[in-house]
Amino acid sequence: MKNLAVFLLIFGSVFTGTQQTMAQTMCDGGPVNIEKPLNRVTSNMGPRKTRINGASSNHKGTDYSTRDYGGVGTPAKGPPEGCVNVYGGKKTPYVRGYGNIAKFDCGNGITIQYAHLDGADAYDPNTNQVRTGDTGVGVAHLDYIIAHNGKTLDAQCIVGTVDNSKGAYFYGDSVKKYFRDDIVNPDLNQCPMGGKIDICDADNIAALREQSDRARGAGASSVTSGPTAGTLIAGTGSSSGAGSTVIQPYYPPTSPSSSGIVSRPTNCSGSTCIETQMIATAQGTFVRSSKAKSYKEFWSHDATQCQPPTKTNVDVLRQRANNDGIGYIEEYEDAFCLNQGCTYIKPKGNAKIGECKK
C-alpha cells in the first residue's frame, strides 16, 4: 500500500509536470517582450513590385542583414519561452525557395518562423538561437515572420526593430561603430499602437491583422493581370464581367472617429462582444457601439476563444456568401474555426453545425 502511494505520488507529479510543460505557451505568463532576432532590417513586410506588369506580390517577412556579423553562421535570437519547434528538437527542414526553416508554435495561433537558415539542424534549443545561412533564394540574410492563424503580422511592430536600412555603413572592421540602435524608427509610429507592442494582447493582434489588410489594400490587394493596351480592364471595386463583384476586405479606422466610438461589425465571437449599431463613414460602413466607453473596447472581442459557429453566424456567412456571388459552402464553417486558431469538428448525426476545438 505504501509502495502504491509512493508510485501514485511520483506518477502524479510526473504527469502533472508533463501536462504543465505541454500546456505552457508563450502568453501564459502575461505580457511578452519578443526581442528582435538581429539589428538591421533590409526589407520590410509588405507589397513589392514584381516583374509582372501591373502586379505586386507580398513580402511576408522582415529581412535582417547578417552580413554585418559575418554572414552565414551568424546566430540570431530564438523565440520567447513557451514556443515549440513544430518540427521537433533542433530540426530545420528544407523548403524550396525558403531554404531551411525553423517554425515555432507559440500558442494562441501565433507562430514565429525563421527562413534561409544554415542547414537542417540550425536551431539550438539549449542556447535558444538559430544559425542563419544563405539557403533558398538570395544572399545570406534572415527572413523573419510572425503570423497569427496564418496571417502575417508586421514583425517590426512586435519586436520594435530599429530600421536603419538606409544607412550605408555596415562593413569592415568598424562595423560596430555604425550600429545605430538609438535611432527611432519612424515606421514604428505607424504601428497600430504607435510603437512596440505586446503580442499576447488580443487587441493588439486584431489591430495588427487589420493593419496587414490595409497594407494589402493600399498596395497589393488589386492586381490586374493581362494586356494593358486596347483592352477592357475593370477597375477595383467595379464590375469586371456579368454579375461579378470585386469584394474589398473590411478596414476599420485606426483611431476612434470624431463622431463617436466604433466597433467591429462582424466576427464578434467572444463573450465580451458588445452591442452595436451601423454607421457609415468615408472608409465604409462600420458599427458604432452603444456600450463601448473607450477606444480599447473597439477591439474588445476575444479572438482567442474557440467558439463554434452558431446558427446566427452561419446565417451571416450565408448572407455574405450570397453577396460575394458564389454561394455558401460547408467549408465556411472550417474557416470560421480556423480564424480563431481552432480546428473544425464536423457535426455528427443530425447536428447541423459542428464544433471548434483547439
Binding site: K60, V95, I101, G150, G226, S244, I329, E331
Partner: protein, 194 residues
C-alpha cells in the same frame, strides 16, 4: 498531318490576336476569411496536388501547412468572371511564390527568370437543393502563366477561351480552349489526345 495541325494552330493564334481580350481584376487574399472567393480558392486548392512538389498537395509543404494546421497563408490572388455565360461567376485563382523568399515553390521560371505561376478556373457544380460542398467545385488547371486574359467574344462549347500569357509584357500567349469531351481547358497548340 503534322503540318496541317501546325498551320491550323498558327491560323487560330492569328485569329485570336485580332480579337480583344479582357483583363482580370484580382484581389490578393490575406486569409481564408477575406472573401468567399479566398475561402473557396484556399480550401479547394489545398486538395489538389502541386506538380512541383512530388506527392504533396498545394500548401502541404511544411511551410504553409504543418501537420494539417495552417501556419502561413499562401499568396493567393482571386478574380471572378462568368466564363460560361450562365449568369454565375467562375472563380479564377492564382498562386504566387511569396516574393523572393518562396521562389520555386509554386511557380516555374523561364530562362530569363520570368515566373510562370499556376492559375486555376474553379467552377461551382453543386446541384440546386443539394448540400453544397467543395467536392462539387471543378478545378481546371494548373495553367502556368504570367497572367490570364479572357476572350471577350469567343466561346467554345459554351466556355470563354483564355489567354495564358507567357511573358511579362503580354505579347506571347497560349490560347486555352474548353473541350467538352475531356471536360478540361487545353492549349490549342497542343490539342488533347483523341
Amino acid at each position: 498531318m503534322k503540318y496541317i495541325m501546325l498551320i491550323l494552330s498558327f491560323a487560330l493564334i492569328l485569329a485570336f490576336t485580332t480579337q480583344k481580350a479582357e483583363a482580370l481584376d484580382y484581389n490578393l487574399c490575406g486569409s481564408p476569411d477575406d472573401t468567399a472567393a479566398c475561402k473557396i480558392a484556399y480550401f479547394k486548392l489545398k486538395t489538389l496536388p502541386n506538380p512541383l512538389e512530388k506527392d504533396k498537395a498545394y500548401f502541404d509543404d511544411g511551410l504553409h501547412i504543418v501537420n494539417g494546421k495552417l501556419f502561413l497563408f499562401p499568396d493567393i490572388h482571386t478574380a471572378l468572371a462568368d466564363l460560361d455565360g450562365d449568369g454565375r461567376n467562375e472563380l479564377i485563382a492564382r498562386i504566387d511564390d511569396s516574393a523572393e523568399e518562396g521562389k520555386g515553390l509554386f511557380c516555374k521560371y523561364t530562362q530569363d527568370d520570368t515566373p510562370l505561376c499556376p492559375n486555376f478556373i474553379i467552377q461551382d457544380r453543386n446541384l440546386p437543393d443539394a448540400k453544397r460542398s467543395l467536392k462539387a467545385f471543378k478545378a481546371f488547371g494548373p495553367i502556368y502563366s504570367t497572367g490570364i486574359g479572357l476572350s471577350t467574344d469567343e466561346r467554345v462549347s459554351g466556355f470563354m477561351s483564355l489567354r495564358a500569357y507567357q511573358n511579362i509584357d503580354y505579347t506571347q500567349y497560349n490560347v486555352m480552349q474548353y473541350d467538352l469531351k475531356s471536360d478540361e481547358y487545353f492549349n490549342i497548340t497542343r490539342p488533347p489526345a483523341p
